[in-house]
């Protein structure tokens, strides 16, 4: 530890926050936030960003999926123009679904928007797989 961070540390130790824990992090570091607030903030990441940023730090890995209660199936579906037949739920889509099922442990709502006939067929094909997951 260099002398600058020693100074920083002792300054931080000197000012204790109200719950008695030392302030370890600079004010402009996201690391200052506790898990609760971190969870809330990260729940606003887009679907892909939530997976992309899982690797930022251990806190992000812990927090990034815990407050995601709503899963929109359209997030893992190919774009509408690519719907030609039921097979178009690609390998990627399955991998994505697998990740969601494994990592989003607090889902309460699953949204499926059915706005085309292709989508409706997909929905019929897809639902048993979704409900079948534990």
């Amino acid at each position: 530890m260099d002398s600058r961070s020693c100074d920083q540390l002792s300054a931080d130790m000197a000012k204790m926050s109200m719950n008695g824990t030392p302030e370890e992090y600079p004010k402009d570091s996201f690391d200052r936030y506790g898990n609760d607030l971190c969870e809330v903030i990260l729940s606003y990441l887009s679907f892909k960003d939530s997976f992309r940023f899982e690797c930022l730090s251990k806190q992000w890995q812990r927090s990034v999926f815990t407050s995601r209660h709503i899963f929109s199936v359209s997030d893992i579906m190919p774009k509408k123009s690519q719907f030609n037949e039921i097979k178009t739920i690609t390998d990627n889509g399955w991998k994505a679904l697998e990740s969601v099922v494994k990592k989003w442990t607090h889902i309460t709502d699953i949204h499926i928007d059915i706005d085309s006939q292709d989508m409706e067929r997909n929905f019929e094909f897809f639902t048993p797989h979704l409900i079948g997951t534990d």
């Binding site: 000012k15 926050s17 109200m18 302030e23 600079p26 004010k27 402009d28 570091s29 996201f30 690391d31 200052r32 936030y33 609760d36 607030l37 809330v40 903030i41 990260l42 729940s43 606003y44 990441l45 887009s46 892909k48 960003d49 997976f51 992309r52 940023f53 899982e54 690797c55 930022l56 730090s57 251990k58 992000w60 890995q61 209660h69 709503i70 929109s72 190919p78 774009k79 690519q82 690609t90 990627n92 991998k95 994505a96 990740s99 099922v101 889902i107 309460t108 709502d109 699953i110 949204h111 499926i112 928007d113 059915i114 706005d115 085309s116 006939q117 409706e120 409900i131 997951t133 534990d134």
Partner: protein
């Protein structure tokens, strides 16, 4: 997966509006009355005191957007609301509630006091989450000093002002959208506490994100 499934549009492709409620008229009257009461109450000014000692005045209805302040006021059991105005300032005992942060928070609640309350009903949650910030909120939260921005979000969280925490959260998520992990770490000053091997393993799990559909 636990919980209920809400399959919103299983009815099919026909777009459907909200069904009219049976007692819409009663609801409307009650809403009007509540609205007037909130308006009256907001004319009463109360004082809030930051962690640094600065005192800021704020409309009562606006102040009550903070669930914490609302609870503290309830605990006073003061039936004559005008007396609240003459009381000692309410101390906000968390070091994120700096003078600057509290000043901004008061500005925010004063602007938003007549917003409809956030519906805890999940039906609206997806829509609310995806909604873009208003022009006013965007300007409000676009704060160059990151320490100050983080103070405001932490203070709003401490004071339990859900709407403002949401504004801060959307702002941060917007800022880092599309950036690389390295860029985000640098920007938000996040310490990477993974070993290279651990990080690579997470990348591998999430490889599918980078592939094209």
């Amino acid at each position: 997966m636990n919980g209920e499934y809400s399959l919103d549009t299983t009815e099919g492709m026909a777009a459907s509006g909200d069904p009219p409620t049976n007692n819409a008229v009663d609801d409307y009257d009650a809403e009007e009355a509540l609205e007037r009461q909130r308006e009256e109450e907001n004319k009463i000014k109360i004082k809030l005191k930051s962690f640094e000692g600065g005192v800021y005045e704020c409309g009562l209805t606006a102040a009550k957007m903070s669930v914490m302040v609302a609870n503290m006021l309830d605990a006073l059991q003061e039936t004559d609301l005008t007396k609240i105005a003459t009381r000692e300032p309410i101390p906000l005992q968390n070091d994120a509630v700096t003078n600057k942060a509290l000043e901004k928070i008061v500005e925010w609640v004063d602007h938003h006091w007549d917003d409809p309350p956030i519906d805890p009903d999940f039906d609206d949650e997806k829509e609310r989450r995806n909604e873009e910030l208003s022009h006013w909120d965007k300007q409000f939260i676009d704060i160059a000093d990151q320490g100050e921005l983080f103070d405001i979000i932490a203070a709003a969280n401490f004071m339990d002002i859900k709407g403002l925490v949401e504004v801060g959260a959307k702002h941060i998520c917007n800022k880092i959208k599309g950036k690389s992990c390295t860029e985000v770490r640098e920007m938000l000053k996040i310490h990477n506490d993974f070993t290279p091997e651990e990080e690579a393993a997470i990348h591998k799990e999430n490889e599918w994100i980078y592939a094209k559909d």
